[in-house]
Structure formats: structure tokens, C-alpha cells
Symmetry: C2
Subunit: 493 residues, 2 copies
């Protein structure tokens, strides 16, 4: 049984949810495989309508879902209601993607009479997809999240492995989605859910599964990736793992906007009790007393909060203890503790750049929660080599005073590093907050993700679930309709 807990009290929240049996997993995958053909053959316009209907149903139940999720995550009604809206926004973005048609990646080479045949390429859905939900976004990276939305849009059946952190929220969300899909005429079997770690592993090993998406810890993700790679027929695994998201404050920005930067940092660091893969784990600042004082003040004033689970809380405490035990690392500031037994208290430490570099890779480890390491540098020119040694991250941020030539020059050099070591390079902003948008790329070099060419947020997330196939020399009448000469890949119904 999977028991949810109220992070504010550490006590059980509601009734436990049953784990899915082996037979139950097999049944769901078999149903998904049986539904795959029918779902693939629906027109993109029909799938867009179905996704829009799912979005509407989730919006309709937003308040009750957010309320339920709050009992299991303590993330607060405002954040959770906003997150439902983010999830339904994602479903609607993929409806747009389906209308656009570019996702089909159609290409045509006409026969040239000199040996080149007629070639017409299009993408097809890869098949049934497993989605491993994350704990820290009970909607936007969970049952109703971007992996589910993008895979359904691609024409793939989806089986979600629910996260143990919010079992009843998962059940309730899944029920809304399943009902909306059925009402909108989607084939039975196109959406299913499994509960429990063992069920998740069995799901990944099922021969009919075609791909998997995951958002979560590096340890969990790498274990699942090994399962995917070790199958008789290996399948692609798209894992978005941990990240420390380095932020660089350049001297001009520190001099002109110390208060604003300090407030922004404390806000980004402590948002959602720091439980974001985009948390600003490393902050590089000039050794400037004004800025350090401002940061210390902002963090001291900041508020902690209950973490999602006892395991996450214990992991955070251990990571902070380990950081604090390094001789070169000094405490800079501590915020207010939050509510309950699993509360994380914001804590920020300080270290010099040379000592930081000497402590790599350990000092650049992700500490999931509101713990920050502020690294003081003397000359921005020293940063490049250190930043280049950090490994892959989801985001890298640079704060500059763009009116100052020296800041611009330094920003260009740091941007050059981040362009090769992160998936998103942010100007004068913080890594938290990943807009759901056409041009978004939420990914990054290993170990930020297991598949750096792909994104889990934004329109391109659909590409994870598509495989090309080319048709050679077919008479028009036998070609898939969108590939016939003179036709457009998408024809309105």
C-alpha cells in the first residue's frame, strides 16, 4: 500500500492506495498496445480536441485537485492552483502543436529521373510510453504533466507510474483525465496508471513498452535508465535529473542592484522550499561586502517550509551537514524554519573561488532544497575555467549591468561556457520558472539529463515520442494521405 503523508504534520493523509499487481501492470500495457493503432490513426486535429477537453476537465476540477494535493505536498493552494493551470496550458500548447503540423517532420525528395527515387518522410508515434511522475510538481511533472501531454499529442498511449509522494492526488487526477478522454472518444487503453516501485520496474520491462520519460533524482533516473538499456529490446529513456544551475553575478550588476539581486536570489532559492530541479544551487558573486551583506539579510528574512517527504527532508539535512563540514565553507545566513517535522530551513554558505574549485566535484553536488553555496570571486576572468568544469546543468544565469562594457565582455565569455554546459542561458533572471512556450528548451548536458538533444518542456518535447519513416516510390493512392503529391501534411477535418 502507498500511504501519502501531510508534510505539515508528518502524519498519514487519507487512506493508502493499493500498489498495482504484476498482472495489473501487464493488463494495462496490453491495453495500451491494443489502443496504439487507433490512437495513432486519429487525425492530429482530433487529438488536439481531445487534449483540449482534458485541459477543460482539469480546469474544472482545479480547486478540488489543488486542495487534495496540498494535503499531500503542503505546497499551498496558490502554487498548486497555478500548477494545474500550467498543466492545462501545456495540454493546450500541444493542441496548437498538433494544428501546426511541423512535429510530423515531413520531407519530400521528388524522383529526379537520374536514380534518385521519390522519397517522402513523416514521423510516427513510437508506441506506448511510460511516464514516471515527479514528487515536486504534483501536476505539471506528474500524472497530468508535460510528458503525458506530449506523448498523447504524439499519438502514443501513456501509462503513468504515479509518485509515492502524492498517491491520492494521482488517483484523482488520473480519474479526471480518464473520464475526459473517454468522453472525448479516445480509445480505451490510451491512458493508464500504475502504483508502486515494483510496478514501475515491471512497466519499464514490458516488451510492448516503447519509450519512457522521467523527472526526478539522478539516482532514481539512472537506475531506470539501466532497466531500459538492459531490456531484450532497449528503449529510449528521457530522464531529466538533478541540476545545480550556476548563477553568476557580474561586478556591475552587484554594484548597481545588490538589493534586487539579493531579494531575487533568496526568492528563487526558497521557492517551494527549494524543491526545484532549477534551484539556484551555486551563486558566483564578486567578493563585495555590500552584496554579501544584502544576500545574508535576504536569506535571514526568508522562510523555510515543510518538504515533500521524510526521505527528501533527511536527504536535505544530510547534504547540508556535509556541506557545512567542509573546512573552507562558512555559514553565511540561515532563514526561518518552516512548519512541521520535515521542514527545511533556508541555509546559505560562502566559499572562495579557489577553495570551491579545489572542492569539485563534491561542492557542486545538488542539494535538493533551500540550500545555497555562494562562491566569491575577485576577477570575472577567473570564472570561466571553474564554470567549464561544473558538468551539465539545466540552466545557467548571468546578471550584468548591460550599460557597462566590462560586464558585457565578461557576460559574453560566461555565456560561451553556459552555451556548452547548460540547456538554457538566462540574462538577469533566475533559473526557477520554466515558461511553457514554443521555443523553450528544458534540458541540458549529462548529468542534467540523460538525453541532451531533447527537452521536457515546450513544443519540442513531443519529439521524444516520434520516429521517422520514409516511403520510397509509392503511387500516390497508397501513400499516407498527408504525403501525397500536392497534399499538405495536415488536412483540416
Amino acid at each position: 500500500m502507498i500511504q501519502g503523508y501531510d508534510p505539515r504534520t508528518g502524519r498519514p493523509a487519507g487512506e493508502p492506495v493499493a500498489e498495482t499487481s504484476d498482472a495489473g501492470v501487464d493488463e494495462l500495457v496490453t491495453a495500451a498496445a491494443a489502443a496504439a493503432r487507433a490512437w495513432e490513426m486519429t487525425s492530429p486535429f482530433t487529438r488536439a480536441e481531445v487534449l483540449t477537453a482534458v485541459a477543460a476537465a482539469l480546469d474544472e476540477h482545479s480547486a478540488e485537485l489543488a486542495e487534495l494535493a496540498d494535503t499531500e505536498t503542503a505546497l499551498g493552494a496558490a502554487r498548486l492552483t497555478g500548477e494545474v493551470a500550467r498543466s492545462t496550458g501545456q495540454l493546450r500548447l500541444f493542441a496548437e502543436v498538433l494544428h501546426d503540423g511541423g512535429f510530423l517532420d515531413v520531407a519530400v525528395t521528388e524522383a529526379d529521373g537520374a536514380g534518385t527515387p521519390d522519397l517522402r518522410r513523416i514521423s510516427r508515434p513510437v508506441g506506448p510510453v511510460a511516464v514516471f511522475a515527479a514528487s515536486n510538481f504534483p501536476f505539471a511533472f506528474s500524472v497530468a504533466g508535460g510528458d503525458t501531454a506530449s506523448a498523447l499529442a504524439a499519438g502514443c498511449p501513456v501509462i503513468v507510474k504515479a509518485h509515492e509522494g502524492h498517491p491520492r492526488t494521482s488517483v484523482a487526477t488520473g480519474a479526471v483525465i480518464a473520464r475526459a478522454l473517454a468522453d472525448a472518444g479516445a480509445p480505451a487503453g490510451v491512458f493508464g496508471m500504475v502504483y508502486g516501485v515494483q510496478a514501475g520496474a515491471r512497466l519499464l520491462r514490458h516488451p510492448a513498452l516503447a519509450a519512457a520519460g522521467f523527472t526526478g533524482s539522478a539516482r532514481g533516473g539512472l537506475a531506470l535508465q539501466r532497466i531500459c538499456a538492459g531490456r531484450e529490446v532497449p528503449i529510449p529513456f528521457f530522464g531529466e535529473l538533478g541540476s545545480v544551475n550556476p548563477v553568476v553575478i557580474l561586478p556591475g550588476a552587484a554594484a548597481s542592484r545588490a538589493q534586487e539581486i539579493a531579494a531575487g536570489y533568496a526568492g528563487s532559492l526558497t521557492l517551494g522550499a527549494g524543491q526545484f530541479c532549477t534551484n539556484p544551487g551555486l551563486l558566483f558573486v564578486p567578493e563585495d561586502e555590500g552584496l554579501l551583506d544584502a544576500i545574508a539579510a535576504a536569506v535571514t528574512a526568508s522562510q523555510g517550509g515543510p518538504m515533500l517527504s521524510e526521505r527528501i527532508h533527511d536527504g536535505f539535512e544530510a547534504a547540508v551537514r556535509e556541506l557545512a563540514s567542509c573546512a573552507a565553507v562558512k555559514p553565511l545566513a540561515t532563514g526561518h524554519p518552516g512548519e512541521g517535522p520535515w521542514s527545511a530551513t533556508p541555509q546559505v554558505f560562502h566559499v572562495g573561488l579557489d577553495e570551491f574549485a579545489a572542492g569539485l566535484p563534491g561542492l557542486a553536488t545538488e542539494r535538493f532544497g533551500p540550500a545555497g553555496l555562494v562562491i566569491g570571486y575577485r576577477d570575472p576572468g577567473e570564472l570561466v575555467a571553474v564554470l567549464a568544469g561544473l558538468g551539465g546543468n539545466l540552466a545557467g544565469c548571468i546578471h550584468l549591468d548591460s550599460a557597462r562594457e566590462q560586464d558585457r565582455a565578461a557576460a559574453t565569455r560566461v555565456m560561451e561556457v553556459f552555451s556548452h554546459t547548460t540547456g538554457r542561458v538566462v540574462c538577469n533572471g533566475w533559473p526557477t520558472g520554466v515558461a511553457v512556450a514554443w521555443a523553450q528548451h528544458h534540458g541540458g548536458p549529462w548529468p542534467a539529463t540523460t538525453a541532451p538533444a531533447y527537452t521536457s518542456v515546450g513544443a519540442a518535447a513531443i519529439r521524444r515520442w516520434l520516429v521517422p519513416v520514409v516511403y520510397q516510390n509509392w503511387p500516390p493512392i497508397l501513400l499516407p494521405s498527408g504525403l501525397r503529391p500536392g497534399s499538405r501534411p495536415l488536412m483540416a477535418p
Copy 2:
């Protein structure tokens, strides 16, 4: 030392080539990593000019390269000269791809004032790429092949691991490429070569390597993939492995074009002594005496030839012996033996559909060389389930009489299977012959390739070597030039 052999005699061909030392490998990768930045920063137009210059240099040396390759591969001057032209055609296609600019995958979302920031996505080269050359295409899938061309086009330095089957051809081709690159102003280090299996493994393990491409056997490819996955920082491995490329002859086609089909089959099966990953290993035909007789006659008249190496020859003989030892499998026809000790004689066997299905997966194993299995069926309706059980292949072919309704209906059902189990579905043609073209897709589900979303032939082959990065809220002056508002991703120099 790596000794090439003349397949026509089995005797050494020329002097051996030295294996690359560990220090030599490290030096090349270090030089490649040092060149990466400069090569990435060249404009796509400049890289197009460089690739065109390399193509011109190879064309200039075509006759001597083909002559040399013939002494190591016995593939014949005509085929080899044609293959050099194919390789230079590939280089020129990627020059076009660079001018087109679509490979940069630029996307822009403008800030909406309501929370969505300005997002501008572009792709960057992944970094130094290892290319593992194949034996059976000493030019088009070797030193000067599509992996090299597409990776250089993407802006990646390339280090080729030469194939042991044609060491002197590799040296000579590499020298032409290196000289042309230097003359065209490409940075030193952008192209290198290593020799020997141990050097190849060290190359893959080097921390500065970013990705690898491979064409060859499933066994070799999977071993290299494990090395890539087991690195401290895993890197993508794009392997194009074996394939049996099922071909289905529908009853109408068999009745109306038996002679033409038999001739086409024998030609495709024995082309290059059958040493193609696109060899038609499985031919499904109606149990029609006319067609079977025609096939037997065409194969009996066909000519074998020397295989590329003793190892390949021994593997072929063993595979044929194993096939012949199956009780249900009967010899159908044998062609003429070729020249020399490593010659492969075309051999075709026959089996009924039910017996074939009972003998899976063994009977669908790749037999590299001119060995074919003809599977007789009674009703095209029986084919679908058997074909769906074959696993991934690079190509699937369907021969039909498109004037006959029954053939069209059956073709549609078989096409539906091949659309999900192969990368290329061919109408009234043979799997051999993969056109170098914009819309080409030379890939397929596992085990045909290790990365079914990608192709190793055609314009999209460049995607293997690119990684996206998105820039958030940057002032125009600090953005990469092609991403500035109002600019086009590519600006002519």
C-alpha cells in the same frame, strides 16, 4: 600492425599500417577538443566551402583511391569509383544543408508581457565526434563517409577509427581530406584518424569525446555502445547495425512480373557479394511455381565474388551452414562461385511460412553475404502477424501490381506493419541502394539501429551531432548574431 589483404588471393596487400598508440589517440582527441571552438565559430557558409573543397579533392583523386581500394576490397573499379562520387555527393549535400540553415532548428518565442520571457533557441555542435568506419563501403561509410561529412558540417571535429579491412585506402583517403581541410583553412585538429581496435576503444573512452557514429555488425556495435554508456559521462552512440530487410512479393506482382522480380532479387542479393546492410535477406513469395522457378534460374545464373575479409567469409559460411541444417529449410538454388579463397557463392533456400514462423527468431538472423531465404505463403493475410514479429529492419519492400485491388489491399496492410518495424518502406523496389537525398531516412527500430529516431544517410544525419540551447531575455546586442530580433539565422558572408 594492421595488414590489408587482397580478397582475390587472400595474400597481404601492400605494407601494414601501424596501430595508433594510447598517447597518439590522446593527442588527437586533445587537438580535436582544442579545434572545436574555432570550427564551431566558423559560419555555416565557410564550412560549406570547406566541405565542397574536400569533395573536389576526393573527386580529383577518385581513380587512384578506387584503384587502391580495389586491392584491399575487390569490390571493382566501377563500384568503387561510383562510391567515391557518392561520398563527394554527400559532402556537397551537407554544403547545401549548411546554406539552408534549417539544421540550426531556430525557434523564437517573444516575451508576452504576461510572464513568458523572450526565448530564442538554436542548436550547437555537440563536440568532438568519433566515426567508426565500416568495411563494406570503403568510401561512403568509411573515412570520407556520411558520418564524417555530417559531423564536420555540424561544426564538430571528427576522429575516424579506420576499419581494419582497408587500412591503406583509409590512410590515402585521410591524407586527401586532411590536406584539403588545411588548404581550405579549417583549423588544425578538426580531423584525425586512429588505427586499431584498442585505439578505437580508447578514443570512445576519452573524456573530451562527445558522441560517436558507427556502421557495422550488431555485435561490434553493441560492444561500442556499452563503452559509451559506461563512461563517467555517457555519450550518445549512433549505431547502424545489421538488418534482414524483408521483401514481400504480392500475388499480382508474382503473376505479372515473375521474371523481372526474379532478376531484381538475384541482382540485389548478390550485389557487392551481398555485403550490404540493406541486403534482401528474407523474400516472402506466394507459393507459385512460376516465380520460384524464375528465382531459382536467376540465382543459378548469378555470380559470387570474393568477400571483404577471411572473418566475413567464415561468418558467411557458418551462417549458411546453420541455415541449411534446419530441417524445414530446403536449398532452392546456388549461383556461381567467385574468385579466390574468400569467395561467397550465392545460395538461396526455401521454407514455408508456418515453418519460418516456428523457426523465429533464428531464421530471421542476418547472414552477411549473398544468402537468401525465400518464404512461401499461401494467403497474403497470413503475412502480417509473421512480419510484425521480425523486429526492426532498415528497409521493408513490397512488390505489387497496383492495378489489382487485392494487391493494393494487401500492400496497405503490409505497409502498415513495415511503417512500424522498418525505417524505409519501398514500393516495387529492392532494399539495396539508399539514395543520398534531403528526405532520406536510413535507420530503423532496434536492432537495425541503436537510435531509431536518427538517420545515417540524408540531410537529417546532421541532427545526430547537434544539441539545442535556449537564450532567455538577452539584450539583442549580446545574442548570437542569428538570434537577434529581425535577423535571419543565417546571414550570407
